[in-house]
């Protein structure tokens, strides 16, 4: 936390090294978040790219409220949501989940580390985007419901409902697979 504040302070003074350190520190986390949300690596990389370029543009005027990780995660989630909307608009008439699956090249490409992670990735892909977003941001990135609600521009009750419905749906998918 203190280190992040120091990095932000140096970044505002124009230190490229500070910006590089911020990038190195959070790049993998942010890319994982974007890939899990979008299921498309190149789109995810573009989102992370846009977030850092936008951060760089605010050099000298950037003000951090809260944590740097929370701020960057929120920016990535917002970027991913915009891209998802664009993609949904292009694929109108098709089922959203199906279109996303067809865009993705499969979890193996992303080298997640274990079969279990790949299985979870597949399970999450079956959820509607909003539910997946809340679950990933809360459980993988430690964001509070309040922060997610603020980022998504919805009420905290909506976020909690999405979270609960998402978990219920995941559970029913897992139970369905077990009983087969």
């Amino acid at each position: 936390m203190v280190e992040d504040r120091l990095l932000v302070w140096k970044f505002n003074r124009g230190s490229k090294e500070a910006l590089r350190r911020i990038y190195e520190k959070y790049k993998d986390d942010l890319l994982s978040l974007a890939v899990t949300l979008l299921r498309d690596r190149s789109a995810a990389e573009d989102v992370v790219h846009d977030v850092f370029v936008s951060l760089a543009r605010s050099c000298g005027t950037f003000r951090l409220n809260g944590t740097l990780k929370g701020y960057l995660s929120t920016c990535v989630a917002n970027g991913a949501r915009d891209r998802n909307r664009l993609r949904s608009a292009r694929n109108t008439g098709l089922d959203g989940a199906e279109s996303m699956s067809s865009n993705s090249a499969g979890p193996a490409e992303y080298a997640m580390g274990s079969e279990e992670s790949e299985r979870l990735y597949d399970l999450l892909a079956r959820l509607p985007y909003e539910q997946r977003e809340v679950i990933v941001m809360h459980l993988h990135h430690g964001m509070r419901f309040r922060e997610i609600a603020k980022a998504a521009g919805v009420s905290i009750n909506t976020v909690q409902s999405r979270y609960r419905y998402g978990l219920d749906k995941l559970r029913s998918i897992v139970n369905g697979e077990v009983t087969k």
């Binding site: 124009g14 490229k16 910006l19 590089r20 990038y23 790049k27 993998d28 890319l31 994982s32 890939v35 899990t36 690596r41 990389e45 992370v48 790219h49 850092f52 370029v53 936008s54 951060l55 760089a56 543009r57 605010s58 050099c59 000298g60 005027t61 992303y110 080298a111 997640m112 580390g113 274990s114 279990e116 992670s117 299985r119 979870l120 990735y121 679950i135 459980l139 993988h140 609960r164 978990l167 219920d168 995941l170 559970r171 897992v174």
Partner: protein, 154 residues
């Protein structure tokens, strides 16, 4: 409940780790540095935006709001004065000291009535080193009102 907790543990324990590759890193870092340079150049070359500076801090925001209210108040006062007179008579220019005195007395009266005005006057006399006469503001007003009654009767 138990099942939901299990599901949460299941998801938490399987956080995916996706690493960026060198090409992506280079592209993002280079573009970010270019954007940073452009931002720095803009900050040095561009004229500072007054409103952006004012809105940045809470104190300056409040000061600006107070300033706007005072200006609007003065304007409204000027307009209403013109309307009541019927004809436009140029108001005699007031000195800042007179305006401040009138404002402070007005505020004191609104806050605590005549007693507050009296206190305010005492404070002013103390500050300026003047010796007030023995008469209080209430007595002064009573005197004025009795004079007016006498004038009307006559």
């Amino acid at each position: 409940m138990r099942l939901i907790e299990n599901m949460e543990t299941f998801i938490r324990a399987r956080k995916p780790h996706i690493a960026t590759n060198a090409d992506t890193d280079k592209r993002i870092v280079d573009d970010s540095f270019a954007a940073m340079e452009a931002a720095k150049a803009g900050l040095k070359g561009g004229r500072p935006n007054l409103w952006a500076a004012v809105l940045r801090s809470k104190v300056t925001r409040l000061a600006a709001a107070a300033m706007i209210i005072v200006v609007i108040g003065i304007l409204i006062h000027g307009v209403s004065r013109k309307q009541t007179d019927g004809q436009t008579v140029p108001a005699p220019a007031k000195s800042p000291a007179e305006m401040m005195t009138a404002m402070s007395l007005n505020i004191a009266y609104r806050k605590g009535g005549l007693e507050a005005v009296e206190k305010q006057c005492d404070k002013a006399f103390k500050m300026l080193g003047l010796q007030p006469t023995r008469i209080s503001a209430r007595e002064l007003l009573e005197e004025f009102s009795s004079e007016e009654v006498e004038r009307k009767e006559s």
